[in-house]
């Protein structure tokens, strides 16, 4: 297991050395929320109604933006070859990579979301639901995204393919999460939606690292 923890540590260190890589999607997230009222309608009542959906769409696209490079650098410089050569389980390694990805994309998005809620006049009752849905939903995005990133890791321009592969899988997460925020905003129970997100997370943790590991092996065994 030591290689896995070493990899997690190294990837966090790399992220600290290249802040541009993870700050860019965050800026994108912020920009969407800032520009939306300018382009659509600055009416606070209208904005409050759509705030949850807008924040979630922005979070999803920001995650997608940061996924492309998840495994590519490791394929290019031979790190992935060393993973395979190490004989350690690819399950743990891809899970570790997805965890690091969530720490530098999903986690900051979750922490920033109340600010965006404020900018878009999100109803006060919906903040808990927004943070909760992002905290449970964005790890699912990272885990599903890792599968797509692993499949396209050795392609020069895999960005479009990655989007086409992964976006349909993101749709259920988006539907349940946005619904949770909306229902919280109009004072209704939203625990059903959050429970669904939790179920998706459990399923993603158990299954996606297998798929991502198999895809990486396929990429390198030539």
């Amino acid at each position: 297991m030591s290689l896995v923890s070493a990899t997690v540590r190294r990837d966090l260190l790399l992220a600290a050395r290249n802040p541009g890589e993870w700050a860019n999607p965050l800026m994108f997230f912020l920009m969407v929320a800032a520009l939306f009222p300018l382009a659509v309608d600055p009416d606070p009542v209208f904005l409050g109604k759509i705030a949850g959906g807008v924040i979630w769409v922005a979070a999803l696209l920001a995650t997608l933006l940061s996924l492309d490079s998840l495994f590519r650098a490791d394929v290019d410089d031979g790190s992935l070859e060393q993973w395979l050569a190490s004989g350690e389980s690819l399950f743990a390694l891809t899970l570790g990579k997805a965890l690091v990805h969530w720490c530098i994309s999903g986690l900051p998005l979750t922490l920033m979301s109340p600010l965006l809620g404020l900018m878009l006049n999100l109803p006060g009752e919906a903040y808990t639901a927004l943070i909760l849905s992002l905290a449970v939903g964005t790890p699912v995005l990272s885990l599903l995204g890792a599968v797509g990133a692993a499949l396209t890791a050795s392609l020069r321009s895999g960005g479009l393919l990655l989007t086409l592969l992964i976006l349909p899988l993101y749709v259920p997460v988006l539907i349940f999460a946005a619904s949770a925020v909306y229902h919280a905003g109009i004072g209704m129970a939203y625990n059903g939606q959050v429970a669904m997100l939790g179920a998706m997370l459990a399923l993603a943790v158990a299954l996606t690292p297998f798929a991502a590991g198999a895809a990486l092996k396929l990429n390198l065994s030539r």
Partner: protein
Amino acid sequence: MTPSQGALQVNLQAVALHCERDDRELFSELSLSVSSGDLLQLAGPNGAGKTTLLRLLAGLNRDYSGDLLWHGQPLYDNYPDYARQRLYLGHLSAVKKALTPLENLRWLTAQDAPDTERLYQALEQAGLLGYEDTPCQHLSAGQQRRVALARLLASHCPLWILDEPFTALDKAGVSWLEGLMQQKVAEGGAVIITSHHALEGIPGLKQLELGGTS
């Protein structure tokens, strides 16, 4: 410098290997054995299949027919065990340019988990003392190669599989690496390398010439 002295640390056999790449036969009926004290150099023209054979022996490529045996057992029966006893260093050195030699070395040797003092020793012997906190992007190609090679010093693996390890090294680096391989072989380990470099005066040297004709 004192690996556990087993009876015979290295015993790798390949029996009747056959490999094709894009409908072109690279080699067939190839048998070889590498045991403690051997230094096997794979030679041959470009495109002869040196790297392919090396990756087969390292267990990174299963696209072949024939048998690979590690201590008499099929290699993939206990791959994690084999993986812990052989060190593979390919064309790509897995050195991250944004990280320093020390940080890179710590990841490269994570499975052996040597202490920091040992890592410093390895960097010193690799001629990188004074550079341990400089990001690798500011180092020359030869120095980056030395970072990758420094892991040889910090590892306990009895079998080294090295693909073109002399690339970008200066004369002093070449003789340093030759010395390392010589020492490994003398300790009862074994080394398999691909290189166009003429290795001389190393006891236990065996050469395998791969043909380049299709």
